[in-house]
Structure formats: structure tokens, C-alpha cells
């Protein structure tokens, strides 16, 4: 199949997936009991309640609300946030760059650490480097994110006064690069740690499998340096699972940095999602679902293209 045809088909499939995902989310979020938190004020009188329901369209039957949502979506209107009185689409889009900055940096740091360390560990399975890294990565994977984040904040901000406790900038210092970087250190560390550990384990596992293969000792015997052996024989074998795992991390990074963002008061999409979901801010929840799902679908399509490029066997379909 040609690359372009493959791409077109995958994108079309992606649209269908997107529709299924948004429909499922719409149904689930509307079914959940309690309803929007603005209706949960115990003091609200029936008059006010009715006025709010009418204004938000919540008095209409669910199928009608569902159709209205689609109609408005086609016009590019994702509705008005219940909690913030702002256009939902804009509210989400405002937060996207912040999440991408945090997630992108975390992924970059993870790859920069995990690939060389994983190769080093896998080259000599059972060796001292392997054992140390094995234990370290296990420990990293065992840390609950929120807990690790709060411990870091207490140590670095509350007790040692070295780094800020959260936020993206110090208000009034928005133009200072140093200030921004200082705000990034802790959240990036917390977000990158488990990803590094997981990537490292997969790289190591792929490299170790290749290290057992007969051609590697042969390559060493031929007099290739360890670096050459790693690059030519070991890393390539680890690449396919690595791409898969990076793909698996993408949704966690795009949508699921929520906990890190909440702990570090980071104005990202994940935190907005938590607030919206807990407050049942339907328009914002739907806007985030569309954004996150579209992003994940795109990442998946790109990964499949990558697969075809890395491993020609996959192309036989």
C-alpha cells in the first residue's frame, strides 16, 4: 500500500475513533450523578435552579443536547464553560502550550537519559551497571507521583528555599527565562522519572535480547568498539518496542500529566481537566476530550508511519 493511501485511510479511521470517543464521554459524563457543581449550592432556590438549567440547556433531553453539541462543534463552537463563563474551546487551547512545554521537556529528558542508560545496562545483562539501574528504575516506578511531588516541594521549597513550590512564573517576572526554568525543574523531574524508568527497562530488555544473539559476540570479536556494537546491533533491536512504549506514554503525557499539574499548580490542560471533571463542567470536559483524543490519534498515526519505516516486515499487510 502506498504511504499516502495508508495515511488517508488512517486519518479517516481516526475521525471515526474520535466520534466514538466523544460520544462515549458525552454519555458517561452526563450520566454521572450530581450534575454540574454550579447546581450543587444548597442555597439555590428552585427559581435560580430552573434559570440556570434553562440557560445551560440542561433542561432539554439528552439526545437533543447531544445533537446541539455536534451542531455547534461544526460551527467551531464548543460551548461556554459552566465554571468560568468563558468559551470552552478557548479555555482549553490557552492551556495547551503549557502542557506541551511540560510534557515535551519531560519526554525529551526521559529519552536523553533512558536510551544511553538502557544500552549500558543491557549490554552486559547481570553486570553491575545493570543491577544498579535495575534497582533504581524499579524504585522510580514505585513512587506515587503526587506523593513524590509533594515531598520534593516540601524539601526544595518549604525547607531549603531552593526552588519555587509551583506555578509557571513568579507574577511580575513573566519575561525572566531563569524564573521560568526554575519553575520547570521540579515538575519536569516528577513527570520524567517514571517515564525514564519505563523506557529504560524496555531499551535494556531489547538490547539484552540482542546481546544474546550470536552475531554480537562475533561483532565484538571482529574488533568493533563497544560504542559501535551498541549503535549497529543493539540499539536497532531495541528501537521497535521503544517506539511502541513512547506511543503508550503519549496519552499519559498529553492528558494524564493532570496529577503533576495539580500538585505543581501548573496551568496545564490536565489540571483544567481535573477541575472540569470534578465540577462537571460539561463543555470543558468535552473540549478537552476532543483535543486529547485528536492528539493521541495523530500520535498513533505517526507511530505507525514510524513502524513502517523502522521495520519493513510490518509493511506487509
Amino acid at each position: 500500500m502506498s504511504g499516502a493511501g495508508f495515511l488517508a485511510r488512517r486519518l479517516l479511521q481516526g475521525l471515526i475513533v474520535l466520534w466514538i470517543v466523544t460520544t462515549a464521554t458525552f454519555v458517561l459524563i452526563h450520566l454521572a450523578p450530581g450534575g454540574p457543581s454550579i447546581l450543587a449550592d444548597p442555597k439555590l432556590s428552585p427559581v435560580e435552579r430552573r434559570a440556570i438549567e434553562e440557560r445551560l440547556g440542561l433542561d432539554r433531553p439528552l439526545p437533543a443536547q447531544y445533537l446541539a453539541w455536534h451542531r455547534n462543534l461544526l460551527r467551531g463552537d464548543l460551548g461556554q464553560s459552566f465554571l468560568y463563563q468563558t468559551p470552552a474551546g478557548l479555555t482549553v487551547v490557552e492551556r495547551v502550550p503549557n502542557t506541551l512545554l511540560l510534557a515535551g521537556l519531560a519526554l525529551a529528558v526521559s529519552l536523553a537519559l533512558a536510551v544511553p542508560l538502557g544500552v549500558r545496562a543491557g549490554r552486559r545483562p547481570g553486570g553491575p551497571a545493570d543491577r544498579v539501574l535495575d534497582l533504581a528504575s524499579l524504585a522510580a516506578l514505585s513512587l506515587p507521583t503526587f506523593w513524590f511531588g509533594i515531598v520534593l516541594i516540601i524539601l526544595f521549597a518549604a525547607l531549603w528555599h531552593l526552588l519555587p513550590a509551583g506555578g509557571m512564573t513568579t507574577p511580575g517576572l513573566e519575561d525572566s527565562l531563569g524564573d521560568r526554568l526554575r519553575h520547570l525543574v521540579l515538575p519536569v523531574a516528577v513527570l520524567a522519572l517514571p517515564i525514564t524508568a519505563e523506557l529504560l527497562r524496555y531499551v535494556r530488555s531489547g538490547v539484552a535480547a540482542a546481546a544474546h544473539a550470536p552475531h554480537v559476540p562475533a561483532a565484538r570479536a571482529k574488533g568493533l568498539t563497544e560504542g559501535q556494537v551498541s549503535r549497529r546491533h543493539l540499539l536497532r533491536n531495541a528501537l521497535l518496542p521503544l517506539v511502541t512504549v513512547v506511543g503508550l506514554q503519549a496519552p499519559i503525557l498529553v492528558g494524564g500529566a493532570a496529577i503533576t499539574e495539580t500538585v505543581f499548580s501548573w496551568p496545564g490542560m490536565g489540571r483544567l481537566g481535573v477541575e472540569a471533571a470534578l465540577g462537571r463542567d460539561y463543555p470543558v470536559v468535552m473540549a478537552i476530550t476532543v483535543t486529547v483524543a485528536a492528539a493521541i490519534i495523530l500520535v498513533n498515526v505517526m507511530l505507525d508511519l514510524l513502524y513502517r519505516w523502522i521495520d519493513p516486515r510490518v509493511r506487509i499487510e
Partner: protein, 519 residues
């Protein structure tokens, strides 16, 4: 270690090294919010928005340190003998933050919006008694009420900030996103200069403010959603004042540079007993349950002392209105047993309380999930009731669902919840029979007449006598099991002075008196 890692490590250490110096000037007060506020008092009486809006949007009056109304945008007022007409003289020379002069038209506009639920107003029920608002001249406003309403002044000073007519120019107030989210125009001592969604809101002292010149240069509201991180940021010197959950108190006490205050606030926490059920109809049963609760243990153990023992539903924060002469609630399990016996409940051989038919005394307490103090309070209640032979189970439910699906339709046995009231003793809508907020279906004819009389009486001394009588009645026929009056724990830097001794919401109506000493 490879050189690249070494360089990265050095860079990180350098970044950490250039820390310590928080760049905020000494005269900037930094407070925490948990999410983005809506900068419009008519649309947003929620906890977060209220904090900001009280600074930006003054009302006609404001509560003083005893929560009594004092002049603000109005300089004086008269009340007609029938208690139905309030006439206010407005302050002259007041300017909106954009320089436009303030006038009676703005007050009229604000209340027209408030009284139209379609506008998005969430203050309608506070002011539903207003029949009409008149502006006979630029500096006089007259409210005509449909019935005498003694808490009217207190409500004017509560959440009803005045908004500018010219900023909306005929547009629905809901649609002015620019105003509501980033560029609000008020008449308060501070005006908004920067709003970064999800991050912060910066306010600057307004040179044209009509009151005394604000002593702070700026107030910055930072968005910090996690309570434990707020505490850490306070200790790190990134926030200047934080209100604490009791559980966080031990982690802040004794920190150098910080001071802690426990302010009384107009709230009462209670166990709602659903009197639609035969189980809780009898006053004796409610009295018995009331006597079974060990409140001291809850206040000391769960709330770390940050609460007061109750009398009735009017909290101690309301000053004179609170009946200090009456005995506070106490524990007496023997008396509880006697009262239950009068109501037909006997202890059976297995220790459980049963009625003549042999049915056990069994009910479920629901509590909103996610708040450790309330969950622990529910557990303590369960243990106290078990001690007198009642079988109690606990369910945690999400707050919104608890209110909408259980409390308001009246489908529950017991719910642990609270009321935050305006600074006034009027509780007609909560505890008079058939009223909209009477979720427990309490019905007592004497209470009804007392609450109605209290709402209509404008003479303070007479009104006080009425509410003291109501509190005495509550000891005999408790509408709810009042558990405690919480105190708001305010942890703040020692440099902060000029804060009135009020809960933070009301204190922020006096932000021009706040001041920060040198670092």
C-alpha cells in the same frame, strides 16, 4: 558520568542556586485561590470568586469587625417605620476603575440584574423581597420591599458588590467575557492589572480609591489547587496568608516568621436528621442523639481545637445575636438513654436499642467525600451513637450528588453538612416549616412564629430577645444536631498587619487597611 550529564547537573544546581530571592516586592500581598475566579459578584458567589470580588467590588455597606453593617458606597441610610423602605445616600466623588463617575444608576442596574435570574444572577434569593429599586437623583437609591426584612442591610454588605452599568451597555452580563475574566471594573481599593488563566491575578492599588489610601501596593492571587502545596508555599515564603484545614495545623505551628489566627466565622456544622422519617420525628429522640455526641473529642481530636461548642444554629461569630447565656451542648449518655426510653426505645440483651416491635434503631449518615475532617467527624459520630446502642453506617458521596440527589429532595436518613450564613441571625428560610432551605423538614409552630417575627423586627434589642428565645427553644426541640462552629485557621506571615479579626472573606472587604512590614 558523561560530560553532557555533568553539564546538565551543573546547570540545575546553578538554577537552584540563584533561588532564595523571591522577587516579589515587600509591599505585595500574595494570597491563594484554588481555581480561576469569575470577576463579577452578581454571577459568582462561589468561595474562590468571592475572595477576589470583595476586593474589587464594594457594596453599599460592609460588615465591621462585629459583623454589623457600616457605611461603604452608601454614607448613610434611613429605614421607614414599616420596615419596608430603605433610602441610601451614596458617597460622592467615587470613580470606577476606568475613571467614569459612580452614580445611583449603577446601583439600580446592579439590582435589576440581580433580580433577573435569566441574567445568570446567583444572588436572586438573597434579594427576592425587593419590589422595586428607585434612583430619585444621582446620589440617592431607594429600595421598596414587599415585606419587612430585617437582614436586608446585612445582605447588602455580604455578596452584593456593585457593578458598572456603562461596562455592559445593554449586553447581557454573562456575555461580557472580557470583563468577567480579565478586565473587571469596580470601585474598590485595588484594580485588576493582569489576569493569567490558571496562574495568577494581579491587583494594584487604585490611586482614585474613595477611602483611605491602600497601604499595600499590590495584591496577587496565585492559583494553588492543592491544600498541602499551599502550606508548603506559605512556608517557602511564596504566599503570605493561607487558610488551613485542621489536619495541616501541626505542620505550620511553630514555623519561624509565621503566625496563626483562629477567626470565628458565620457557619454551623450539623448532622441533618430527616424529620420526614418517623425515626426522627420525636424531639426526644433528637435530644437524645444530641446528648450522645462527644463534641469535645471531635473539636480536640479532629479539628485540633479550631471550633467552638455550640448552643443552637446561630453561631458565636454573630456576636450579640448568639445566646451566650445559654448552656453549651454537652454529653450525657445516661440522659440520652432516658429520653430514648420515653420515646419507646429499650436496650435489648445484645446491647442494641430496639422499639416495642423489636426493630433496631438503625440509620445511615452520608457525608461528602474527600474531606478528612468531615469523614473523621462522621466516624466519631458513628462511635458515639454505637455507645448508646444505635446502629449507624456511613456512606461517602460526592458533594454535588449529596446536595442534589439526597439533601434537597429529602431522600436520606442523616447527612453531615453545614451552612455558611450571611452575617445576620435570620434563619427563616432554613428552619421555618415549609421554607426552601428547610431540608430536614423541621416543623415547630413556635419556631415559625419566632423566626418570622425576627425577620420583621427592625429594633435591635427586640430582635435580640426573639433570637435568644429561638435558641432556647432549639435546646428543647433541636431542628438539627449542631456539632460545632468552626474557626477559620489563618496562617500568615508575621509581617502582615491591619487584618480585621474576621474570616478571610469578610476581612477582604477591608483590604485597604492591610499592610506588610519590611522583610
Amino acid at each position: 558520568m558523561r560530560p553532557a550529564y555533568g553539564a546538565a547537573a551543573v546547570a540545575l544546581l546553578t538554577l537552584a542556586g540563584c533561588a532564595g530571592t523571591d522577587a516579589a516586592p515587600a509591599d505585595t500581598l500574595r494570597l491563594a485561590l484554588i481555581n480561576d475566579p469569575i470577576l463579577n459578584p452578581v454571577l459568582a458567589p462561589d468561595v474562590g470568586s468571592v475572595l477576589v470580588n470583595k476586593v474589587i467590588f464594594p457594596g453599599l455597606v460592609r460588615p465591621d469587625e462585629q459583623l454589623r453593617p457600616e457605611p461603604d458606597l452608601a454614607t448613610s441610610w434611613t429605614i421607614s417605620p414599616d420596615g419596608k423602605t430603605y433610602t441610601f445616600s451614596l458617597r460622592r466623588g467615587v470613580k470606577w476603575h476606568d475613571g467614569v463617575p459612580f452614580s445611583s444608576r449603577d446601583v439600580q442596574f446592579t439590582f435589576e440584574r440581580i433580580l433577573d435570574p435569566k441574567s445568570g444572577s446567583l444572588l436572586w434569593s438573597d434579594f427576592a423581597t425587593i419590589e422595586r429599586v428607585e434612583a430619585p437623583d444621582s446620589f440617592t437609591v431607594r429600595f421598596v420591599l414587599s415585606a419587612p426584612f430585617a437582614s436586608f442591610l446585612a445582605l447588602l454588605g455580604y455578596n452584593a458588590g456593585i457593578i458598572p452599568e456603562h461596562a455592559f451597555a445593554g449586553k447581557p452580563i454573562l456575555d461580557n467575557t472580557e470583563f468577567n475574566r480579565g478586565k473587571p471594573i469596580g470601585t474598590g481599593p485595588f484594580r485588576v492589572v493582569a489576569a493569567v488563566p490558571g496562574s495568577s491575578l494581579t491587583l494594584e492599588a487604585d490611586p482614585d480609591y474613595y477611602g483611605p489610601k491602600p497601604r499595600l501596593a499590590r495584591i496577587v492571587f496565585k492559583l494553588v489547587p492543592d491544600a498541602n502545596v499551599q502550606v508548603a508555599a506559605l512556608r517557602a515564603g511564596e504566599l503570605d496568608l493561607v487558610t488551613l484545614e485542621p489536619a495541616s495545623l501541626p505542620g505550620v505551628e511553630g514555623t519561624p516568621g509565621l503566625t496563626i489566627r483562629r477567626a470565628t466565622v458565620p457557619q454551623h456544622y450539623y448532622l441533618a436528621l430527616n424529620q420526614r422519617l418517623p425515626l426522627f420525628k420525636s424531639p426526644q429522640v433528637r435530644r437524645a442523639l444530641d446528648l450522645a455526641v462527644n463534641r469535645e473529642a471531635i473539636i480536640e481530636g479532629v479539628l485540633k481545637g479550631a471550633a467552638d461548642l455550640p448552643v443552637g444554629t446561630i453561631p458565636v461569630a454573630l456576636g450579640d445575636w448568639f445566646a451566650d447565656s445559654l448552656p453549651r451542648a454537652a454529653t450525657d449518655t445516661a440522659e440520652a438513654g432516658r429520653l430514648l426510653a420515653q420515646a419507646g426505645w429499650r436496650r435489648s440483651a445484645d446491647g442494641t436499642m430496639r422499639n416495642s416491635k423489636g426493630d433496631p434503631f438503625r440509620f445511615t449518615i452520608r457525608v461528602d467525600k474527600g474531606n478528612p475532617s468531615r469523614e473523621q467527624t462522621a466516624l466519631a459520630l458513628q462511635q458515639d451513637f454505637k455507645a448508646i446502642g444505635l446502629e449507624v453506617s456511613i456512606e461517602t458521596v460526592e458533594f454535588a450528588a449529596l446536595v442534589r440527589d439526597d439533601l434537597q429532595p429529602g431522600r436520606y436518613d442523616a447527612i453531615l453538612i453545614w451552612w455558611t450564613t450571611p452575617p445576620d441571625p435570620d434563619q427563616y428560610s432554613y428552619y421555618a416549616s415549609g421554607q426552601i432551605n428547610n431540608n430536614v423538614a423541621y416543623a415547630n409552630a413556635t419556631a415559625d412564629s419566632l423566626l418570622l417575627a425576627g425577620r420583621r423586627e427592625t429594633d435591635p434589642a427586640h430582635r435580640r430577645a426573639i433570637y435568644h428565645a429561638f435558641q432556647a427553644l432549639e435546646r428543647e426541640d433541636p431542628p438539627v444536631l449542631v456539632l460545632y462552629y468552626p474557626r477559620e485557621i489563618q496562617a500568615m506571615t508575621r509581617r502582615l498587619t491591619g487584618l480585621p479579626r474576621l474570616g478571610i472573606r469578610d476581612a477582604l472587604r477591608h483590604s485597604e487597611t492591610f499592610s506588610l512590614g519590611p522583610r
